[in-house]
């Protein structure tokens, strides 16, 4: 039985919100987006500086601007400043709207934003002063600061759960499964990462792999996927292709992802069975990735023209493609024969940008462009979104392709026993292209600032409604 737009008007709970609730939700969404945008600019400016330090290592080489201090500042700020805050902001909007209710506590949402920002500011200062937790990737912040971040997560998950508990409908919409899952899992991951008594020897290596990969796959991935499950149907005015497939992808993500971390330490003294399990689970990840990706793309079927006219949909589309291909690339990298070449090379840097930028960041942008105008009533300019989209897409393509080719050459040089300096010489042109891609990406972020201004405090732009006409209305 086909479902029509007329049917939809009769379904679903009656919203119980008032104007004041909408205004508060809009203020929170705006504040999270503006705050996240600041960290995007700061974190990627540092990243751009780092990219050029490969070509000119002595440039700005003072104590506080060394590569060793700036690199974790870049990764932690784009992770916990930009992506975390942006996705939590969209998560609040998605949860409230999909539950047809109002936010449980505005004060808790503001407290969470303050805690996220305090952690990011303190972490940045600590790292620049040389207070680094050591060689533990993505958890370089000293542990008290990571506890502040954990407090932000707990405040947020409490608020989201309490909001879902007061929903009008019987079911919990799929997006909220991913959002709550991501928040709860990350609380556990952060707690495991901070407990001290197994953080030595091989235990430390195992926990390091567990944290670094799950900080991506059990935090950013579920939040971004939850956003896809709301924003793509909303923009297209068409339901998700298969709800059941989304549920399957949720549970298979939980089954396979937590065991992946050891694939970062293949050929290490970690137990071989643990490494093998990590590889098999990496292959198992093809289920949620291919199933989820197909679900999003089948929802978009037949609306190809919309991807050209609607930039929110274009951002979401690129995000879905990078999710599918970036994750499949991760599976391939986990195979021993290929990791022997690619591990420790710039190929992995290309992979992390393929996923964290191409997937997570494009998902956040698509979600913000699709949903923030609905919250504030202000749209960006069509030209501004177009410039942002094409600069970012071109930039990340150049970045990922150059590092993938260069990283492969680098790895083959090492496998063939060439002197290390030969691999440095061979990488020279690819480092240059990496910088070119980075410049385009950073310029796109400046345009994004302008677009955020127009969607929040500035004069609204001329972009059409982010919600496309339904097929029935268009026919």
């Amino acid at each position: 039985m086909a479902v029509t737009v007329q049917d939809l008007s009769r379904t679903g709970p009656t919203p119980i919100r008032g104007e004041q609730d909408d205004h508060e939700l809009s203020s929170i969404f705006k504040a999270y987006t503006v705050s996240a945008t600041f960290w995007l600019i700061f974190g990627t400016a540092v990243g751009l500086l780092l990219a050029f330090k490969f070509g000119a290592p002595d440039f700005w080489a003072g104590k506080y601007l060394t590569f060793g201090r700036l690199r974790p500042i870049h990764t932690n700020d784009v992770f916990y400043g930009w992506a975390s805050i942006a996705l939590v902001g969209t998560a609040y909007y998605v949860t409230v709207r999909s539950c047809g209710t109002k936010l449980y506590s505005t004060a808790l949402a503001w407290a969470g934003l303050w805690l996220f920002n305090i952690a990011a500011i303190a972490g940045t200062i600590a790292l620049d002063l040389g207070y680094n937790w050591g060689d533990l990737e993505y958890r370089e912040w000293p542990w008290p600061i990571r506890l502040v971040f954990l407090a932000a997560l707990i405040v947020t998950v409490w608020n989201i759960l309490a909001t879902i508990a007061r929903r009008e409908s019987q079911d919990i919409y799929l997006s909220n499964w991913y959002i709550v899952g991501g928040l709860l899992w990350t609380c556990i991951i952060c707690l495991v990462a901070v407990l001290p008594w197994y953080q030595y020897g091989l235990g430390q290596v195992t926990i390091s792999g567990y944290f670094m990969h799950n900080a991506v796959g059990m935090w950013f991935t579920p939040l971004a996927l939850g956003l896809f499950y709301y924003a793509i149907p909303k923009v297209l005015n068409r339901p998700i292709y298969s709800y059941a497939l989304g549920v399957l992808a949720f549970w298979t993500n939980l089954v396979f992802y937590p065991m992946l971390g050891a694939h970062h330490f293949l050929f290490s003294p970690l137990p071989w069975w643990l490494q093998t399990t990590a590889i098999i689970c990496s292959v198992g990840m093809l289920v949620p990735v291919l199933g989820g990706g197909a679900n999003y793309l089948l929802t978009m079927r037949g609306r190809y023209h919309g991807r050209i006219e609607s930039y929110p949909l274009a951002f979401l589309f690129v995000g879905v493609l990078c999710y599918v291909f970036g994750s499949m690339q991760g599976t391939v990298e986990a195979l021993r024969s290929l990791q022997a070449i690619w591990h420790f090379t710039s190929f992995t840097v290309g992979h992390s940008h393929f996923t964290m930028y191409g997937f997570v960041t494009f998902a956040a942008w698509g979600g913000i462009y699709a949903l923030l105008p609905l919250a504030t009533g202000k749209r960006p300019g069509q030209l501004g979104m177009a410039v942002h989209f094409w600069l970012a897409t071109t930039g990340v393509a150049i970045y990922v392709i150059s590092l993938s080719i260069g990283g492969t050459i680098q790895g083959l040089d090492w496998v063939h026993g060439k002197p290390f300096i030969q691999s440095v010489v061979d990488m020279e042109p690819y480092y240059l292209w990496r910088g070119v891609g980075g410049i385009l990406m950073f310029l796109s972020h400046l345009v994004f600032v302008w677009n955020v201004w127009r969607m929040t405090a500035g004069k609204p732009g001329d972009a059409p409604s982010p919600i496309m006409q339904s097929e029935e209305a268009g026919a």
Partner: protein, 54 residues
């Protein structure tokens, strides 16, 4: 690629069979939902989010 840390062969085979069986089952379920998504009931939650926000 041989490694001295390879470990017992049957341990590797056991892991591969167990995790492989779970993986295979998941793939079967994935294709089932891709081919027959169902969910035509207009009261299904996936249609609720399409209502106007206001």
């Amino acid at each position: 690629m041989h490694n001295m840390l390879m470990g017992p062969l049957w341990g590797i085979v056991t892991i591969a069979i167990l995790v492989g069986a779970v993986t295979l089952g998941c793939f079967v379920a994935m294709f089932k939902f891709l081919i027959r998504p169902g969910e035509h009931d207009p009261h299904h939650p996936k249609y609720d989010i399409l209502r106007p926000d206001r």
